[in-house]
C-alpha cells in the first residue's frame, strides 16, 4: 500500500474512533461512577476507578446499619448497597418475565399474520395489510390513556397482564415478518403442502426456521424496547413494588433520605444494563452466522 492510502484509511478510522468515543462515553461514566465514592463523583476526580479508600458511608449508617458493616471500599459499597436497598434480582426477573412474555406472544401472533398476508390469497388482504401499515403510524403515547382506562376497567392495573397485554400484537413485527416471508419462494410452501403439512404446520415448521435471522432482528427491537421501557410500567404499576421492572427499580434510588447518592444508583444501572448487552452480543453472533436460504437455488 502507498503512503497516501494509509493516510486515507487513517482519516476514516479517526472519524470512526471519534464516533465510537461519543457513543461509549456515557457507558464509561456509568461504569466509572458505579465504582467511585460520592465525594469523588461530586468533585469529578479519581479517574476511572477512584482511589478506592476504605471509608464509612454515612447514608448507610443513616439507613440503620452498624458503622462496622458500613465500612468498606467504595466499589464494594456501591454494589452491596444497591442490592441491599432494592430487590434488584426481583426487578431483573420481572424484566425477564415481561420482555420474554411479550416477545413470545408477539411471535405467536405475528408469524401466522405475516404468513397470511404474504402468502395466502384471500378477499381483503390488501386492506388488512394497509391497516397494518396504518397502525405503524400511531404513536404509543397517543393511545396510552385509553389503554390505561380499559385496563383499569378490567381490573388489571398492578398486574403482569397490564405490563404484557398491550404489547402482544406488534404491527411492526407483522410488517417485518411479512416483508421477510415475501422473499421465501412459493415453491417451498407448495412442497410442504404436497408433503402433507397444514397451514399452521407450515408456519411453525417451515417459515419459522427460515425466518430466524429476521426473527432475531425483531427480538432485539422488541426486547430492548420493553426492557428499557419506563413510560408504560410507570403508568400501570402504581403501588406493587414486586412488579417493578428494572427501569422502575432504578427510580428507587432517587430522592428520599439519601437524596441523590450516585454510586449505588449507577451500580444498579450497570446491573440492569449488563444482561441486555450480553444478550445482544450473543444474538449478534447468531445474526452473522444466520440461517441462509442457500438450500433453495
Amino acid at each position: 500500500m502507498e503512503a497516501k492510502q494509509y493516510i486515507g484509511e487513517g482519516w476514516k478510522h479517526a472519524i470512526l474512533i471519534i464516533g465510537a468515543i461519543v457513543v461509549m462515553l456515557p457507558f464509561y461514566m456509568m461504569v466509572s461512577m458505579s465504582l467511585k465514592s460520592q465525594q469523588e463523583i461530586q468533585s469529578i476526580s479519581g479517574g476511572l476507578i477512584g482511589a478506592q479508600e476504605t471509608q464509612t458511608f454515612p447514608v448507610c449508617v443513616k439507613t440503620g446499619y452498624s458503622e462496622e458493616t458500613c465500612t468498606m471500599k467504595p466499589y464494594q459499597y456501591n454494589y452491596w448497597f444497591a442490592f441491599e436497598k432494592a430487590p434488584i434480582p426481583r426487578y431483573l426477573m420481572n424484566g425477564v418475565i415481561v420482555t420474554l412474555s411479550i416477545f413470545i406472544i408477539q411471535v405467536l401472533v405475528a408469524l401466522p399474520c405475516a404468513y397470511a398476508l404474504a402468502k395466502l390469497r384471500f378477499y381483503g388482504r390488501e386492506f388488512v395489510f394497509s391497516m397494518v401499515l396504518f397502525c405503524l403510524l400511531i404513536p404509543v403515547h397517543g393511545i396510552a390513556l385509553p389503554l390505561y382506562v380499559m385496563l383499569a376497567q378490567a381490573g388489571l392495573v398492578d398486574t403482569y397482564s397490564a405490563l404484557i397485554l398491550p404489547w402482544t400484537i406488534s404491527v411492526f413485527g407483522i410488517f417485518l415478518m411479512r416483508q421477510f416471508f415475501m422473499t421465501v419462494p412459493d415453491e417451498l410452501i407448495d412442497a410442504a403442502r404436497m408433503d402433507g403439512m397444514g397451514e399452521y404446520a407450515i408456519v411453525w415448521k417451515v417459515m419459522l426456521p427460515t425466518a430466524i435471522p429476521a426473527l432475531l432482528a425483531f427480538a432485539i427491537f422488541s426486547v430492548v424496547a420493553h426492557w428499557n421501557d419506563y413510560f408504560w410500567p410507570r403508568m400501570v404499576i402504581t403501588g406493587n413494588r414486586d412488579l417493578f421492572t428494572p427501569p422502575l427499580g432504578i427510580r428507587e434510588f432517587r430522592g428520599g433520605i439519601d437524596s441523590d447518592e450516585f454510586g449505588p444508583m449507577m451500580a444498579s444501572i450497570v446491573t440492569v444494563t449488563v444482561p441486555l448487552i450480553v444478550a445482544f452480543i450473543i444474538a449478534q453472533k447468531r445474526f452473522i452466522e444466520g440461517i441462509t436460504l442457500t438450500g433453495m437455488k
Binding site: P185, D190, D195, G196
Partner: protein, 377 residues
Amino acid sequence: MGTISLKNISKSFGSTQVLNNLNVDINDGEFLTLVGPSGCGKSTLLRIIAGLEQQTSGDVLIDNKNVNRVRASERDLAMVFQSYALYPHLTVRRNLETPLRLRDYNSFERLPLIGNFSPSKKEKTESINQLVNKTSETLKISELLDRKPGQLSGGQRQRVALGRAMVREPVAFLMDEPLSNLDAALRVHMRSELSELHNSLKTTFVYVTHDQAEALTMSSRMAVMIDGNLLQLDTPQEVYDNPSSLSVAQFVGSPKINIFKGTADSGGMVSFLNVNLKRKSSESNTDLHIGIRPEHLEITNESNENTFSGTVAYRENLGSDIFFHVNIEDGSNKIIVRGLPQFTHQISNDSNVNIKRVSDKALLFNQAGMRVQFTNA
C-alpha cells in the same frame, strides 16, 4: 393404480383465460409430458392436478375418484419442483423423512419430546428409517444424508428432491421442469436416469417442460399445449411425424421445421417454388403451408425440376451433422437443411447450393394452420 383424468378443465385468472377446456386421460404407469412454450399454462395444469391451484371449472379425477374438493396434502401425489424446494434448515435425512413423518405419525406423536412416549412411535420410526435408507440407496445419496441442502451441488439437490418425492411411494409423480436448473451435460444425463427410474418404479409420471427435446426423449406420450389449448396428445414419434397443426410442427423438432408457401391447384396438385410434389392434397384450389423438416432436405449437385437453389448464409457445424441456413433465391424464405459432414464439409458460407427434398415427407397445413392430408391417389 395411478390414473389421472382431467375433464373439461378451464382456468382463468381474472379475465385472462389460462386453460381452455382441457381433456386429458393419463394412464397408470405412463410417463406423460406436458410440453409447450412458456406461458402456455402447462405449469398451471400441473398445479391443478396437484391441488395447489383450484380450476375455474371442470373435474380432476385420480383413480376415478373426483378430487376437486380434496386438498393437495390428501391427494397422495408427490411433486418435484424446478428450484427443488428442499427445506433449507433440515438435513437431507430429515428432508426425506418429512413426508413420511407427516403420513405415519399421528398428531400426538409429532409433538416434540412427549410424542416419544407413544408406544407405537418406535416401530413407525424404524419403518421410516428403512424407507429413507432404501430410497437414498436407489438414488445413490446415502453419503449425503447428514448434510444440509446448502452444502449440496445442483445435481445432488435434484436427487434429494426426487428422493423426497419417491420415499412416500405416491400414486403419481408431478414434475415441474425439474431439470432446467442443471447444466447442459447433467441435464442430458438426468434424462436417462429419470427414464430408468420411471421404468423401475412403474408409477405414473406427469412431467412439465418447455424443452421439446426432454419431451421427445423421455415420455411415453406427450401433450403439446399452446396458449392454454391442448393441441395434440400422442406418442413423441407420432407428434413429430404427424403434427396436427402448424404450431405443433413448429414447436416440436430442433432445428425448426421449414415452412414454404405453396399452392394446390384445381386438381389438388401441390407445388411450391418451382417444385411440384406430384401428390394431391385433399383441399384443392388454395394456398397452403408446406412443412419439410431439415433432415428431409438434402444438398445435391443435380439441378432439375425437383430442386431449388439458394445461398448458404450460415453453416452450423454440430460435428455429427452440419445445418446449413440457406436463403432461397427469390428471397422469400430462409430455410435450414441438414447435411452429412462427409458429403458437405467443403461447402462454405455464401456458396450457391441446390437443394432437393426426400419424397413423401412433406406436411401440408392450410391457411388456418390445420393439417391437410394428401389423398392417396
